[in-house]
């Protein structure tokens, strides 16, 4: 157990293991995304009230769900790097931020496009939407804060504190549709009790949510690998890798 944690802190080991995971995870992810997209776009029946515009659900919900989960990953990595000063946790925290920002952006933009034919407006200052916008700013804040410092150790600490403080926003996003009943509908999928979505629509949606989780993992590992190379560029193993790459 401890040796596993010890290995996790070793940049060359993490770089190699991330590479070997990506070799099989990336093709599976891309395949699942393609299958889910075609299934949701062309093979499901339209919603009886919203018509075909509801098909946006197959990207909107997965992006939003994974954007929220990704924030937890970032905050936990931030906490680990603050408490145990683990360099690789700092790398993981930093790698989460741009992916989370991209997914939150997808959720907001697709939601806005979905809102026009459904609610008659592109944007509304609803609790769910506003708290998602704050999530986007938190992610972008971490990216910008890291770039703002010359001393990368201080930058890592500041980002970890920002991401930990930002976790307050996550339960607010989850609960916003129950606390403030406005335009955004409450959750259709429930872990306890019956979901208010037909199985023919639920299965492609679950596939897409899984595919987006896998996409997040792939991007996280790829970002971490690039960051490890950058940080370890003075070490022998990276220099050797660079020579092999050129050859």
């Amino acid at each position: 157990m401890w040796s596993f944690f010890h290995k996790l802190g070793s940049p060359p080991w993490l770089y190699r293991i991330a590479g070997s995971i990506l070799r099989w995870l990336l093709p599976i992810t891309l395949l699942a995304l393609c299958v889910g997209l075609v299934w949701g776009l062309l093979f499901t029946a339209p919603d009886f009230r919203q018509g075909n515009s509801y098909r946006i659900i197959y990207i909107h919900v997965p992006a939003a769900v994974v954007a929220l989960a990704g924030y937890y990953v970032m905050a936990i990595a931030g906490a680990v790097s603050l408490i145990w000063k683990m360099k690789m946790a700092d790398v993981a925290m930093r790698a989460c931020a741009p992916i989370g920002a991209a997914l939150t952006f997808i959720a907001l933009v697709t939601g806005s496009i979905w809102g026009k034919p459904t609610w008659g407006t592109w944007w509304v200052w609803d609790a769910r939407i506003t708290s998602m916008l704050i999530l986007l700013f938190l992610y972008l804040g971490v990216v910008a804060l890291y770039e703002a410092y010359d001393n990368k150790e201080a930058a890592g600490k500041a980002c970890a504190v920002l991401s930990l403080v930002g976790t307050v926003n996550i339960p607010i996003i989850y609960k916003s549709v129950d606390w403030w009943y406005s335009l955004h509908q409450p959750a259709s999928i429930k872990f306890t009790g019956e979901s208010s979505i037909d199985p023919s629509m639920l299965y492609p949606l679950l596939l897409m949510i899984t595919a987006f989780y896998a996409l997040f993992t792939c991007c996280l590992l790829m970002n971490m690998r690039a960051d490890i190379l950058d940080r370890e560029s003075r070490t022998g193993w990276v220099k050797k890798l660079a020579l092999e790459y050129r050859a």
């Binding site: 062309l42 339209p46 018509g51 946006i56 992006a63 992916i99 991007c219 790829m222």
Partner: protein
């Protein structure tokens, strides 16, 4: 397939513009976040390989650099 023809799938009974625009933007962002780390990794490796080649070609500057 739910739709009868390609035209019907594109139009989606009037909602085609919204649905396809949302999917298009999503696809673009996904491609960007997949390609960005690859590009960064490639750039770093090429830069390091170039540095080493220069150092091997001119060993005195390496000593001075230290």
């Amino acid at each position: 397939m739910y739709f009868d023809s390609l035209g019907a799938a594109l139009a989606m009974e009037g909602h085609g513009g919204f649905v396809w625009a949302a999917y298009g933007i999503c696809l673009l962002v996904v491609v960007l976040i997949l390609l960005a780390p690859r590009r960064r990794q490639k750039k770093i490796l090429l830069r390091l390989a170039g540095e080493q080649k220069r150092q091997q070609g001119n060993p005195t500057t390496v000593e001075e650099g230290k």
